[in-house]
Symmetry: C2
Subunit: 332 residues, 2 copies
């Protein structure tokens, strides 16, 4: 951000705020009021990642890092999570999927982010022997995300695939009903409806058949992690969460505690998240493109972090987190 | 089945029953009582597939083919759905995943089949503007499927991966709690817990890391369709649904109405379902292996249906449904 500011003559003001595990340790809360206030008073949020194995392996933990993330999404009204899946040509070999299947794949996911089973009532009954979670969607929630997806499709290849499980689930039947209705307002956009299980298969079998994909919160969570393999690595994927106010930009990967402190994490997803922030929240198209071009240049120069290196990468070109960041800076 | 009977000196008695779309057309019900009675009085059920686009595109349809399938699963108490994912060596090239990633992959899924959001209360409120589905699991439901998975792991590579979304969902937290408890009874089996989103990614990135995978109904539905790509095609995958009574054996693919009547469907998943039936319901190990060996032989001879053919398959070796079945028969 500072390099972009220097190059383009802007000045950005930063504030830092705690969330997740570090916030629990410092304040007892996964999203302290002070952090939420700071976010609400910012023009955009650049987000790290939450999650910690300590809580994952303790199903009875009452306070969890993820509650901070979910509360932030709800309080900021971030109902649309955009996850662009696009392979940098240089990484064609880094994926476990064959290059000839991947070449040219370019998918934009719209994951609904403030509804579904994530936010419905949940709890225990029968003396704790039965657990339940309620999934819920209302028409307006489906409508607003569907419109965002169709609008985006108009600027792309004009295809929307809506993903649901309407053959079993009632929320999915409402979802399909509403998407069918919204689709009528966009006669120039081709729409198809797929079941989530078939989509999980088709994403690997033929990723190029997709342009814009719109789906519910839980299905989007699963399908976008899967689709990360189309981009070679989770370490490459940025996301934008938008709604009616402040936007939040974050890599789609988690906090990866298995590599904490080793200096090997791929910083490119975070850097590309800043590119999305510049574009979407600040309307700075050229600035955003300068970041993406720098990432592209670094990859063209042959530099790789461990996760995107392959058998053909010379050892000298495999960089740690800081060195990779420094290369991107040089090119900006 | 008849070829196996002739070869091994058995005799099988068949009954036919309607379910799904054809049952709705004939009787109005997706699972007529008569069909259910026949199943309950059989030693095993060899199942076709249900689903019809007519209902999929009409979210307000009140009677659907899938209701027949779900009712059958519930009434027969088929709580464990086994989906073995194993690539026939000859098909290494047919997958969109690189052969070096796939070679040796061998996963056995245990998908819970009679609980979760599939069978919870569902409906509308707010004048139909809000839809809801309740996901539910009780301890005993998780326990019995977990035991089946750990038992199976003992006969394999002794690893169980339990998949949930315990960082968000309460049913998943109960799931993880119970699996952790059951795992204590199997100190010789290695257990890991993964989130469903990470699993969707890892299945493609590194399928060989998995041995037995156990998961809830909805997650299992999505992950096994995805994993079909490890086996080259959905057209290769058989499944067994078992419980305390009659077992049901079916291909994991659907009714594929886009190719109805064209004679190009791959019959191997259905044929391999019969192999599972012989093994699991009838305890006929040699008979089951004879079916699998015949399928293997046909593939080794170079025969392919369209879905598993690749650029190197000579046109003369690309067979239709009946011709492919005939080749398998010859080898039995
Ligand atoms: C950390 C977790 C709660 C979160 C989610 O499920 O939404 C993550 O997987 C994501 O995709 O942002
Ligand atoms: C047809 C459908 C209801 C079914 C399911 O979701 O269970 C199918 O996808 C399956 O996996 O057997």
């Amino acid at each position: 951000m500072d390099a972009i500011a220097a190059k383009f003559g802007h000045s950005f003001t930063y504030d830092e705020a705690l969330i997740g595990h570090v916030a629990i340790e410092a304040t007892g809360s996964p999203l302290p009021d002070e952090s939420l206030e700071k976010m609400l008073h910012s023009d955009a949020v650049l987000f790290g990642a939450v999650g910690h194995p300590k809580y994952d392996n303790d199903p009875s933990a009452r306070v969890r890092p993820e509650q901070g993330l979910l509360k932030m999404r709800k309080e900021l009204g971030l109902y649309a999570n955009l996850r662009p899946i696009k392979l940098f040509d240089e990484l064609l070999g880094a994926s476990s999927i064959k290059p000839e299947i991947l070449k040219g794949a370019d998918i934009l996911f719209f994951r609904e982010l403030t509804g579904d089973i994530y936010f419905g009532e949940k709890g225990r009954k029968n003396n704790g022997d039965t657990a339940y979670d309620v999934a819920e969607y209302s028409r307006y929630e489906v409508e607003r995300i569907a419109r965002k997806a169709f609008d985006a499709a108009r600027t792309r290849r004009k295809k929307v695939c809506s993903v649901d499980k309407a053959n079993v689930i009632e929320t999915s039947r409402l979802w399909r009903e509403v998407v069918q209705k919204v689709a009528k307002e966009y006669p120039d956009v081709e729409v198809e409806h797929q079941f989530v299980d078939a989509t999980a298969m088709l994403l690997i079998k033929d990723p190029r058949r997709f342009d814009v994909v719109v789906t519910a919160n839980l299905f989007g969570d699963i399908l976008t992690d899967e689709a990360s393999q189309i981009a070679g690595s989770m370490g490459m994927l940025a996301s934008a969460s938008i709604g009616d106010g402040t936007g939040v930009y974050e890599p789609i990967h988690g906090s990866a505690h298995d590599i904490t402190g080793k200096g090997v994490a791929n910083p490119l997803a975070s850097i590309l998240s800043a590119a999305l922030l510049l574009d979407i929240s600040f309307g700075m198209k050229a600035e955003s493109e300068a970041v993406i071009a720098a990432v592209d240049g670094v990859l063209k120069a042959g530099f790789r972090t461990r996760d995107i290196a392959d058998a053909t990468t010379p050892t000298a070109k495999v960089l740690g987190t800081e060195a990779m960041g420094a290369e991107v800076l040089k090119l900006i």
